[in-house]
Amino acid sequence: MTYAGLDIGSRTIVLVEFDEGLKDYAILDTGPNPIQRCQQLLDGKTYRGLVATGYGRHLAATAFAHEAISEIKAYAVGARYLYPDCRTVIDVGGQDCKAALLSEDGNVRKFEMNDRCAAGTGRFLEVMARALELSIGELGDHALSATRMTPVNSLCTVFAESEVVSLIARGEDSRTIALGLHDAIATRIAGMVRRVGPRERVVFAGGGALNACLGRLLSQKIGLELTVPEQPQIVGALGAALVARAR
């Protein structure tokens, strides 16, 4: 009796299989043809229920999924399963970031999302890592090793990249620049989180939660502890799988 959740994001596709508990998961790059990639991922597998979320959810629902749910709901359900006392979910994904306030019984009460701009998203961090010639996995620790911060003023991904280039040219230490970049987007995300009126427990999920520096700054700025799940990237797909089971 296996159920599956599929989170088709802008950067990664996550599949979670669920029976009595979390059974298995897979994380793949989205690539240029997400539906084809999903079909490869699902090839030869049958599930009692399959629910899709993420940007590709509607396409997936037309092609093979039983239902599509928003990422807000998926993350809320996933985070509540992992932490039943969770009241706030922050998700920093590839091309957006969101914050949701949950009621005591886990329903979404209020949410905020970034608009069309990439500031405050994983994409921002990716572009900046490249400008600093680091991998996305190295960026957070690099910033944490800084002893001071070089402020970065631009939040726009394009402008911030040019700002970083000129800071490097000026001879600034790349660690202090990295810290400045994290501080800039943490400020932006924290503003969004404050708008929903966050309450503990706050779960920080999505690919962005793999970045320890971002989590630390965010926690400082909103003045609340953040809980990062062991596999923060799979929370949305897990929520979708749980919705599939509850159908």
């Binding site: 940007y55 928003s70 807000i72 957006d96 608009d115």
Partner: protein
């Protein structure tokens, strides 16, 4: 559609560009409107009007001009249509609702100007709107800084007359607006050579009031659950109100209302009774701006009202009984216009009350606050609207966008999450 090319050429349209614009509309309209389930038969007239969007109605305006009449363009509900009609002129709302004309505008206007202002200006400089071309002059107003300054620039391309709308609803503000109406009356008389008498004005006001009453009737039919007409169709009717012939339009809307009231009596609707009922509140939506309604209704919601200038703000206030003298009528018109609870006023708490009344009376599950990007007045008022609704337990979703399609995915995302939240 008949061949209007010679008319368009005579109006000085950029024919090549205009062809591209008109070429895009039928496919878009079909995809959005004609694919809806269970549409009222009475919408056939409005489909026809859109099919003839730059054709038959423009021809009527040209015929009116040929027989010595004037055509007056306008953009805003503060400009009283009855005063224009009383001068024997035809008021016509101008094109302002598409991304198509924005690049033309951006060659002149600052980019960080709202889409409505850019679109309207772009239609003139790009010569792609037959209505502005056909108009003898346009009447602007001072309802926001962006428009106010745009009209100065528009005046370099087309005769433009600007009337002042006060910023506060005070006796002094009313005095100012009344004086502006007297000034507009003089301007219209000068342009048309027609003297606006008490009789002429009373007759014109009766026509405009009948149109408003018909729109209020349509608005009231949308209180029913299930709702007898989609938000898209109802929005379209209000949009058409700005440029169609006032008498014919009133007849067609009344006929549509007969049909809708029949549906309500039989418990028939365009969506399941359980579909989330949404009130849209905020910036106006000029033709063919159907973006938000389309996303909402595609996602399974029904829009049951627009607290907007292409909604309740256009048709809710009515002229009060007056002594019938010219001065008395003008004062009554001033009062009616100033009952428009637009975010250009400060304070504007009456708008918050309107939203609350609609949320309750139209059995609304959630409110979507729509602001055009760079529309500072509405974007700021969203804060108060959200707070007032929260006290009543009505959730609100803020959408800030423009006319481009690039953020459709993001908006759909939020709308889906919002509908999951409000679904009963």
């Amino acid at each position: 559609m008949a061949d209007y090319r010679s008319m368009w050429a005579e109006l000085g349209l950029d024919l090549e560009k205009h062809d591209i614009l008109l070429g895009a509309l039928p496919g878009m309209y079909e995809g959005i409107f004609l694919t809806q389930d269970n549409r009222p038969e009475g919408m056939a007239y409005f489909d026809f009007v859109i099919g003839e969007i730059h054709g038959l109605r423009v021809k009527e305006l040209m015929d009116h001009k040929a027989s010595g009449g004037k055509v007056v363009g306008l953009f805003c509900v503060f400009v009283p249509e009855d005063l224009i009609l009383a001068a024997g002129a035809i008021p016509v709302g101008l094109c302002a609702g598409t991304q198509f004309s924005v690049p033309d505008a951006e060659e002149v206007l600052p980019r960080n100007t709202c889409a409505l202002i850019k679109s309207s200006f772009g239609f003139k400089v790009g010569r792609t709107c037959p209505y502005v071309q056909a108009s003898d002059f346009v009447i602007g107003e001072t309802t926001c800084d962006g428009k106010k300054k745009m009209y100065e620039l528009l005046g370099q391309y087309h005769p433009t007359y600007v009337m002042e709308v006060p910023q506060k609803k005070t006796p002094l503000g009313r005095e100012l607006f009344l004086e502006e109406l007297r000034g507009l009356k003089a301007k219209l008389e000068e342009e048309t050579g027609v003297t606006i008498t008490a009789e002429r004005l009373a007759e014109a006001t009766a026509l405009v009031e009948a149109k408003r009453a018909a729109l209020r009737r349509l608005h009231n039919a949308r209180r029913a659950r299930p709702v007898p007409i989609s938000g898209l169709d109802a929005l379209l009717v209000t949009q058409v109100a700005f440029y169609d012939d006032v008498v014919r339009f009133t007849e067609k809307v009344s006929a549509l209302c007969d049909e809708l009231e029949g549906r309500v009596a039989r418990g028939e609707g365009v969506a399941p009774a359980a579909a989330p009922r949404i009130l849209v509140s905020g910036s106006p939506m000029a033709v063919p701006n159907w973006k938000l309604h389309r996303i909402l209704e595609d996602s399974g919601a029904v829009v049951v009202g627009e607290e907007s200038c292409t909604g309740t703000r256009y048709f809710t206030p009515a002229v009060a009984k007056n002594d019938g003298t010219l001065a008395g009528q003008l004062a009554a018109i001033a009062d009616r216009q100033l009952e428009t609870h637009c975010a250009c006023f400060t304070p504007n708490d009456e708008r918050i009350d309107d939203v609350l009344t609609l949320a309750e009376g139209w059995d609304v599950d959630g409110v979507v606050h729509y602001s055009l990007q760079f529309c500072h007045t509405f974007a700021n008022e969203a804060v108060k609207v959200e707070k007032a609704l929260a006290i009543r337990g009505v959730p609100l979703l803020r959408i800030e966008t423009d006319y481009s399609d690039e953020d459709m995915g993001q908006i759909r995302n939020r709308v889906d999450a919002f509908l999951e939240m409000v679904r009963r």
